[in-house]
Symmetry: C2
Subunit: 598 residues, 2 copies
């Protein structure tokens, strides 16, 4: 055991990190730390430039319909989706550490935005769009603060199964929320029962032409996703080209349905269209800051920040790993914070690093965040020049692109996996999924986090305690219930397989108390501390209490194999002096010393 | 490592416990389990009877003024204190497992009762006393439910330092709340700033005679507590007799001040007295059950239950240890639950096992819960026959007994101790003390619990990770920063000193990712899992992700010294098949196999 070295070396690492801020080239390092662009920008060359440009063109084509669609999902005017992709991408390019991450509106965050704003204002009102700015501002400020105070670890409390369950349930909610556009009816609600109930109520008002467009677009997009690529490959098209054609599928759907509406005058027959979108660069906007609004949005903004950060960082890390690049989670928070503040002041809404767009960017050969900057330019051109083209674009087509995109998020295999691997993880996933569906995204994700923390605490609050004895002829001690071991009726040795802390301190007290009360022969208790990484103050007081109570029963308490950092702490207090027995380096020495004939 | 046996043996223990309900003498065991009286009752004899009777007389004398005083503290009519001591003691005698625990009103729970009811109704109104019944009912129902569902572990989340801080702050609050009775003024508030502010406002209305009585009684009781016993012992009085006289101090104060008020007619000069107390056995009462009331009281009732349970069980265990007796925490919950339900239906208020009264009971020689039953009879006689005697008892005297009793609870040494031992425990205590004083008991204890859980999660979310190498000539592997060890530049071995779970899964991912990105020589990573007691689903997915990312970097991942239960779980999923490297029984074997020349 090199336990005694652990605290010191851990501290020394921390010190090293802290010093790097002030050392020799301190300012340059600090600059590079908070401005990663200063790092990759210096070595930028023509090769990287042309790769980045190609990637940007591909991503731009993909993003135009996607941005409009996610704005629709968030309940915002379509241009908000474009605006939310421009300034945020540029700001992330300056402050972010991932070379390939593409920042902008994403499905889950758009859904959460709709859920948050639905409590504040009616969709389509000025107040609604303004509140979206405030939400982006709050989210940006929180991300930035977490980054500056290096609080990125907060995201760790979202367990993988909870995230998986949440994403699956969100996918279902999103798909359900788009059905009204496919049917061409007005329906409402942010939870599944209310959405479905409202849809059912309005079913009679279904617009048949909208329904035809919606179903055709959905079927086409499913086919593009599943059947087109294999077909093209069979026809001898190269993999890259086949991939590109597949990615352009939504654009084709947009073109065809827009043309159909325009040519056949379908908007006069009740097909809802995108309509007028202002031809403009992103406007400068000021998020409203009334105290009531801030108070109402602070919790949603926090949840959006955390969920967005988790989604973004896992994409960034997956892509960085492919090229052995580093991602700094706290700097990522700063990058995402800046991106969201950018969205708040340029007519956008909360954004994060999206999975699909980032993968496309990476696969298209993006080498640096400059690719993102070029994408922003492409989208800015689209916002200025192309918006009249989407006037006749039916909302049903956008809904179809959303439905096809999010159904790939829905994956119930996590339930089976969790069931097989760990029942407590299963409980957390199931609760997350069900509550997200029936009580909304905020309740769902909060309950998932709360439950997984409680279940973790519950597990560690009832640690496994093994009664051990010596394997004959060796110095090894093993569980008496599983191995043929030698024990002495006067000596009880317990090995606790968990750090001792407040949640299990009393458990050990009870366990020992009951064990000893049952067996009056016992004169010595040895606690073998191999697996005890920490003893907090509650556990220390429990040990003191155990020591005192055992003394009153005439039983001596010994410890063996205490780790260095634990020993360091115990030496700060009186416990070792008060201990009725001794602390032994090894369990073997302990038993030898205690059972030695007098 | 005999890890593989651990889950199984743990399960087998659980099975044994579960089976005992159904085995041979099943019904008898079940009866004894839920009715401990069936156990000790059968061997009750004349010796135990006379010991119990003596203890009961002493405790009864002590409890009469104490019960009146605590009722005053809770803001209830004095008889409520007596009633709360009668049925609850009897019910605990039937259902509780402690032989010496004395159940009834205690200081901290009385304070919490006052804080909870203060939000519902005015002190002294009918609604206030009725709400106290509802509070006792809710608390009893919760304790009973926790006992039946074996949820006693919930109390473990109150860490020792948080309890210590809470008790100290409560002591200060209680003492402050009694100052108004010493001054003879009307003041209000349930937090220190409001209490002191209100007192200061009414300072001009101080009743001088009340003040004289209050100060004299307080000084006398302090002297009895600190000076009387040594004096008696010096005068040659035996230790038992000296002890008894000391315990009777409050009774003397009650007698003298009551006589003074009666003889000098002080109640006509503004000295507040206890006044008329009905001469009656505990009445049958029905706690009001309106939904509003239940909703308002459910959280306070939960906190009262938990705090009461923690106080009670620690007293019970301390006393049981002295005689090697067993306490069953879940049965204790049932006992306390029954006691509180008893209080709810007989005009009382929430009760628990008190420290002072239990120690007196134990020291006086109580052998079985029958001592409690006799005490109940004594108090019932007092309620019927003695209440007219306390008509002239000044409230200031009762306040003095409370102040002197609770000041012994105030102990700031926990702050120093926590500061020395663990800064995170210190933060939790300090927050508990400050918030209890300035924001009230409910906020204080909740914040303490929340903070200690968060700090624990934070600690385990950043586990110590040591990079280890082989100590030359041995099979031992130690921290490379602390020992001269042999390493191979192609092989990185990390030892994580914590179970892997969602809160630290990403930490390990980041750590490894950054470590490998820095060092392109590395071709093999070994995770030495000696201290990993658990791998939850999030950590499993992190390991899979690490495996996948390392593979993309051309690095092989191996595991060594995986514990049995962890291995069992890993075998349920595909991870071990997907692992690019191998699982080695020991770290030594791993390094030997990997670095073996080809």
């Amino acid at each position: 055991m090199d336990g005694e070295t652990d605290t010191a070396s851990h501290l020394s690492q921390v010190t090293v990190a802290a010093n790097s801020k002030k050392s020799g080239k301190g300012r340059m390092i600090a600059l590079r730390r908070y401005l990663p662009i200063a790092d990759w920008g210096r070595s930028y060359d023509r090769g990287a430039f042309s790769n980045d440009l190609v990637a940007a063109v591909i991503v731009t084509i993909m993003l135009i319909p996607q941005s409009l669609a996610y704005a629709l999902l968030a309940g915002l005017p379509p241009e908000a989706g474009l605006y939310a992709s421009i300034a945020p991408i540029l700001l992330y390019a300056v402050f972010g550490t991932s070379r390939a991450l593409a920042v902008g509106p994403v499905a889950v965050v758009s859904l959460m935005t709709a859920a948050a704003l639905g409590q504040i204002a009616e969709q389509g009102t000025m107040g609604y769009a303004a509140a979206a700015l405030t939400l982006a501002f709050l989210s940006g400020a929180m991300l930035l603060a977490m980054g500056l105070f290096r609080l990125g670890f907060v995201a760790n409390f979202l367990s993988h199964p909870v995230i998986a369950g949440f994403i699956t349930a969100s996918g279902i909610l999103i798909a359900a929320s788009q059905l009204k556009h496919i049917l061409g009816v007005a329906a409402e609600g942010h939870t599944l029962p209310i959405m479905l109930g409202s849809l059912f109520e309005h079913l009679g008002e279904t617009n048949p032409i909208t329904l035809v467009i919606g179903i055709a677009a959905t079927a086409f997009l499913f086919w593009v996703r599943k059947g087109l690529k294999p077909m093209l490959r069979n026809m001898g098209v190269g993999p890259k080209a086949a991939d590109f054609v597949t990615k352009a599928g939504p654009v084709a759907a947009v073109f065809v349905t827009t043309f159909a509406v325009w040519a056949l005058g379908l908007e006069e027959r009740g097909v809802r269209i995108v309509g007028e979108v202002p031809q403009s660069l992103p406007p400068l906007t000021l998020p409203p800051m009334s105290l009531d609004l801030l108070e109402a949005l602070v919790l949603p903004a926090f949840l959006i920040s955390i969920i967005g950060f988790v989604e973004s960082i896992s994409v960034a890390q997956t892509l960085a790993a492919k090229k052995r690049q580093r991602i700094d989670p706290n700097q990522e928070l700063i990058g995402l914070g800046a991106a969201n503040l950018g969205a708040a002041f340029t007519g956008g809404y909360p954004v994060t690093g999206g999975f699909a767009r980032s993968v496309v960017n990476f696969d298209a050969g993006a080498e640096t965040p400059a690719a993102g900057a070029f994408t922003a330019v492409g989208l800015a051109i689209a916002a200025v020049a192309l918006t009249p083209l989407v006037y006749y674009l039916p909302q049903a087509t956008l809904a179809a692109t959303i439905i096809v995109a999010v159904l790939s998020l829905v994956d119930f295999s996590i339930l089976k996996r969790a069931w097989i691997y760990s029942k407590s993880d299963f409980a957390a996933v199931l609760a997350t999924i069900l509550l997200t569906l029936v009580a909304g995204v905020e309740v769902g994700v909060s309950a998932g986090v709360g439950l997984s923390i409680l279940l973790h605490l519950y597990r560690t609050s009832r640690p496994h305690i093994a009664e051990v004895g010596r394997v004959p002829g060796t110095e090894h001690f093993r569980n008496i219930h599983r191995h043929k071991v030698e024990t002495d009726p006067r000596v009880l040795t317990l090995r606790v397989d968990e750090s001792l802390y407040f949640a299990n301190a009393r458990f050990l007290e009870d366990f020992l108390h009951n064990r000893i009360a049952r067996d009056p022969q016992i004169k010595h208790v040895i606690l073998q501390c191999t697996a005890v990484n920490d003893v907090d103050l509650s556990a220390l007081e429990s040990l003191e209490e155990i020591n005192r109570r055992l003394a009153e029963m005439g039983v001596t308490l010994h410890l063996s194999e205490v780790k260095g950092p634990v020993m360091d702490r115990l030496q700060k207090v009186h416990f070792l002096q008060d201990l009725t027995g001794k602390v032994f380096l090894t369990q073997f020495e302990a038993v030898k010393a205690i059972t030695r004939p007098a």
